[in-house]
Symmetry: C2
Subunit: 196 residues, 2 copies
Amino acid sequence: MTTAKRDTYTPESLLSVAVQVFNERGYDGTSMEHLSKAAGISKSSIYHHVAGKEELLRRAVSRALDGLFAILDERQACEGRAVVRLEYVVRRMVEVLTAELPYVTLLLRVRGNTGTERWALERRREFDHRVAELLKAAAADGDVRGDVEVRLATRLVFGMINSMVEWYRPDGRGMGEQEVADAVARLVFSGLREDR
Amino acid sequence: MTTAKRDTYTPESLLSVAVQVFNERGYDGTSMEHLSKAAGISKSSIYHHVAGKEELLRRAVSRALDGLFAILDERQACEGRAVVRLEYVVRRMVEVLTAELPYVTLLLRVRGNTGTERWALERRREFDHRVAELLKAAAADGDVRGDVEVRLATRLVFGMINSMVEWYRPDGRGMGEQEVADAVARLVFSGLREDR
């Protein structure tokens, strides 16, 4: 039997437990029972904070989406040459991904079975589209190669960045956030090949 | 009630149905009942072909792994300058991924709950390691930039390539296999930035 602990959760700290469980079991595979066990509080205590697991999902993916969309409003993402803005956005995406790792991981695993999931997928597409527009502007400036189609390039760059949720662990022993941001920016903009 | 169809499956065609179900429901979430329904034959007919769902998983991920490892034995992957061999391997990885899409998709989603899954993860690591060795050799030749750590670069390049399972659909309407292989090779080796 689980010893129920006193409910000292805030909506924030409960969310952090829920996201961990969602990432481990998958959102579909998580019941309120699982959440109650992981948090060590009763289901009714959870219902005191949120209407149900879909609200927890909505809050969690919102946190990731808000972090990503906020990048696009930062001054360096709005002013100056498109290719420079694009590089800024790529670096900031790596930073948001590392700072909000479990939330972005959940966002990237969303499948579309519920209204909240479909909404999250729609917002992700919107974000991808905004970045693709920036890439298109950089190509129009002649700063970005014209021989890779914009949508394909965007997908591949997002693929590289998003893969981080599979291997990046902020354990203090591995690579730091800035090292990864530098590496991603170098590879995305200049590639592997040594210029000679 | 499902109308059972006569069992005209070969081990190959049954595998193709099983992989589709594994990818849709997740391996853990798939029961012999699900496989039987999807194939339209009885469970005992399935047992006539295989010992159980883990054997289907082993066959499916083996097909993906065999395809990937075979690349490393091809002449162009073994002879010549490391950076040229590396570019060959990257292009061939894209080709194997598109040709064996459902099998590679399943391989990349394997989590490690069963012996077969742990074995598949181990083989994946071995493949990644072989490609990382090639990258290291190219860096030693001075053909690949030295300011991104080899393991990190390998992860990011694999991230870009592997992301294809999320969006590449061989429906004849979208991008062709060669277009994607060209785009990946260009981005991985030369990056987005236009040289001027």
